[in-house]
């Protein structure tokens, strides 16, 4: 059940220059709504949540929501998050990054955070491009796409963020598109509820810096594309490799139990008690 007014008044920093800075039809706003609804349902109070973002259009999210918010440097949000989580394990730490943020300059922190399995929820808003700086190629831009820094077509294969996260050790890995807004909300909720390091990739639309470069002329066309190309895990199971080729799997892709960093730390600290 939507509760837009509630979110607007309770969670958004409405005193601060709304409408927000994002372009018309940008997926970030839709994500933000889903995110706030999920938080609302999670039972955490605003004071218990630390929302950390990197730099980029997606990085501006932290400005708009009324939590403990931290707008860090480009690519390094997870490192700040690590310091916060280890210092105040009681806080719920959520990190939102752009695709460039998380997988270009921040790729190393991303895989290491996954390896450590800290209790952090990491959300990557993947719009396949550098939105903020003017439409440059990102590690998520598909092959052959022309951007301001790949004017003759991109020659680098993109990462599969979810695969990378899994290989690095993330115990929970999920993906949604912005179009699948309810799934997105549910997955955010699940990630927040879990312990350990959770990775959520959100396929989002950047109509201004990306859509027009790939022939999707409006936010509506981009959302339609998401709708057409996403397949749920259940559906994917019944499909051939060939059919899946240009498809995006959505849903929870990995969900394992593994001892978290904090649990291992607690066990270690237990050993001191014996000594003293």
């Amino acid at each position: 059940m939507p509760n837009g007014r509630h979110i607007i008044y309770d969670y958004l920093r409405t005193t601060k220059r709304f409408p927000h800075m994002w372009c018309p039809g940008c997926g970030l706003g839709t994500f933000l709504g889903a995110f706030l609804r999920a938080v609302d349902k999670s039972g955490y109070t605003k004071d218990q949540i630390v929302l950390i973002s990197g730099i980029g259009c997606s990085g501006r999210i932290s400005t708009y929501a009324d939590f403990n918010t931290l707008h860090t440097t480009h690519g390094r949000a997870l490192t700040f998050a690590t310091g916060i989580k280890l210092t105040k394990p009681g806080l719920k730490v959520i990190v939102i990054m752009g695709d460039g943020d998380a997988t270009a300059i921040g790729g190393n922190h991303f895989i290491h955070a996954a390896r450590r399995n800290l209790d952090i929820t990491a959300i990557v808003i993947n719009n396949s491009v550098y939105g903020m700086t003017g439409g440059q190629v990102s590690p998520e831009t598909p092959l052959d796409v022309r951007t301001t820094t790949s004017p003759y077509g991109n020659v680098e294969s993109p990462f599969d963020i979810c695969k990378l996260a899994e290989a690095a050790g993330a115990a929970f890995v999920a993906r949604s598109t912005v179009y699948h807004v309810k799934l997105m909300e549910r997955l955010i909720g699940r990630a927040i509820d879990r312990k350990g390091f959770d990775v959520l990739e959100i396929i989002s639309q950047c109509p201004v810096q990306y859509g027009r470069r790939v022939g999707l002329k409006s936010p509506v066309e981009m959302l339609q594309w998401q709708k057409d190309h996403a397949v749920t895990q259940e559906k994917a199971r019944g499909m051939s490799e060939e059919d899946l080729k240009d498809k995006i799997r959505i849903g929870a892709l990995v969900d394992n139990e593994a001892p978290t960093y904090q649990e291992k730390l607690d066990a270690m600290k237990q050993s001191f008690k014996g000594v003293e």
């Binding site: 004071d47 932290s62 440097t73 190393n108």
Partner: protein, 377 residues
């Protein structure tokens, strides 16, 4: 009184940090600073503090800032190559006004240089290494005892001014062991960051309370606010308005420069009647100490000012010397860094001589003595 003990410089930094209340260390190993990490890894967990070895120095500095925002006194330690990598986040700590301490144990440079040898090549970097104009506080111990004391003070200053503070030591200071008697806990003055005194609803996170330093709640204490590396208004939200940018940057500088007079920390030896004064810091100051004694024995009126604060540069004390001495000698293990500051504040008052060594070896008393002799001749 506390017990005498043999302590290494790096260990003294560890002890100083713990005494100051540091409970978070994130770092990445590097010679000759690794012992600081080893010490913190050993000491912090039993104190319920956190040690974490991050994936690199950038991450270390990010974690330190995060920890500080969450309320911990936090520190990292590194050497030149790692210090370079930390600069972006030092700039962040400065604009976001996050207290934290960075120890840079200088080694032979540039680049990988001579990792196991000393140098004093990072002085200017400690002040200017990070992008965008911002102030820096830089301290430089020259003994094991000072490693302890100045580490405590680094935390105090960083908490007081909400600013990153750099401690510059060098390979010799870091690795040498000296017999020291550390003060007991109650002899040590600790400064903790000021917290807001109004209810959260009335809290304006970056409003100048008059001291230039806004109080700082920790995340999770009920004061939800926004922290950003963008220039921000009093609420913490990004601004590009000249009438908000200017006062913000001004405040960043003035919160420290207003206390400039309080930061003239240095030790003077024989400066009452000297006609030649040496200005030195770090391990070179120790050689100078001996050289001055020997020069005195030979009847030469030489004095010494040992700088403990490198930045803000101790103009007061240095120019006071210049009023009496026709010559100032600045020996350094670099091609001339602090000597540039001495020259800058000199304004033609006296002659500034330099003695530079870049063999990445300790400076000897004899070398200084020779230079003194040369000047006297």
């Amino acid at each position: 009184m506390q017990k005498a003990e043999l302590l290494q410089g790096n260990d003294a930094c560890v002890r100083g940090a713990l005494a100051a209340g540091c409970r978070f260390f994130a770092g990445y190993p590097i010679t000759p600073a690794s012992e600081i990490a080893h010490g913190m890894a050993r000491e912090l967990p039993p104190l319920d503090g956190t040690f974490i070895q991050m994936e690199d120095e950038i991450a270390s500095m990010g974690a330190v800032i995060g920890a500080s925002l969450a309320g911990a006194k936090a520190m990292t330690g590194t050497s030149g190559p790692g210090f370079s990598l930390m600069q972006e986040h030092i700039s962040y700590a400065s604009i976001a006004e996050v207290p934290c301490v960075i120890i840079d144990v200088m080694r032979g440079g540039p680049s990988t240089g001579v990792p196991t040898h000393l140098a004093q090549g990072d002085v200017m970097q400690a002040r200017w290494g990070a992008h965008g104009d911002h102030p820096m506080i830089v301290l430089a111990p020259s003994s094991v005892e000072e490693c302890f004391r100045l580490t405590v003070e680094a935390f105090n200053l960083s908490e007081k001014y909400r600013t990153p503070v750099v401690i510059l030591t060098d390979e010799v200071i870091a690795h040498m062991r000296e017999k020291v008697i550390l003060p007991s806990a109650d002899e040590i003055k600790i400064f903790d960051r000021r917290k807001p005194t109004q209810p959260p609803e009335w809290f304006v996170p970056y409003r100048d309370p008059g001291t230039g330093v806004p109080p700082m709640p920790a995340f999770g204490e009920g004061y939800r606010y926004h922290v950003s590396g963008l220039v921000h208004d009093e609420m913490g939200y990004p601004t590009t308005r000249a009438d908000e940018v200017d006062p913000f940057i001004q405040r960043l500088f003035h919160k420290i420069s207003r206390d400039f007079d309080k930061l003239q920390w240095g030790e003077e030896y024989y400066t009452d009647d000297s006609t030649l004064d040496i200005v030195a810091f770090g391990s070179v100051a120790r050689a100078a100490q001996r050289a001055v004694k020997q020069a005195r024995e030979r009847g030469m009126k030489v004095g010494l000012l040992k700088l403990q604060v490198l930045y803000p540069f101790m103009r007061r004390k240095v120019t006071k010397l210049m009023r009496n001495s026709p010559t100032i000698l600045v020996p350094e293990i670099n091609m001339g860094q602090i000597s540039r500051e001495v020259k800058r504040v000199n304004q033609g008052k006296c002659k500034v001589e330099t003695l530079n060594k870049v063999a990445h070896e300790t400076m000897t008393p004899q070398e200084i003595l020779d230079k003194i002799g040369e000047i006297y001749a």
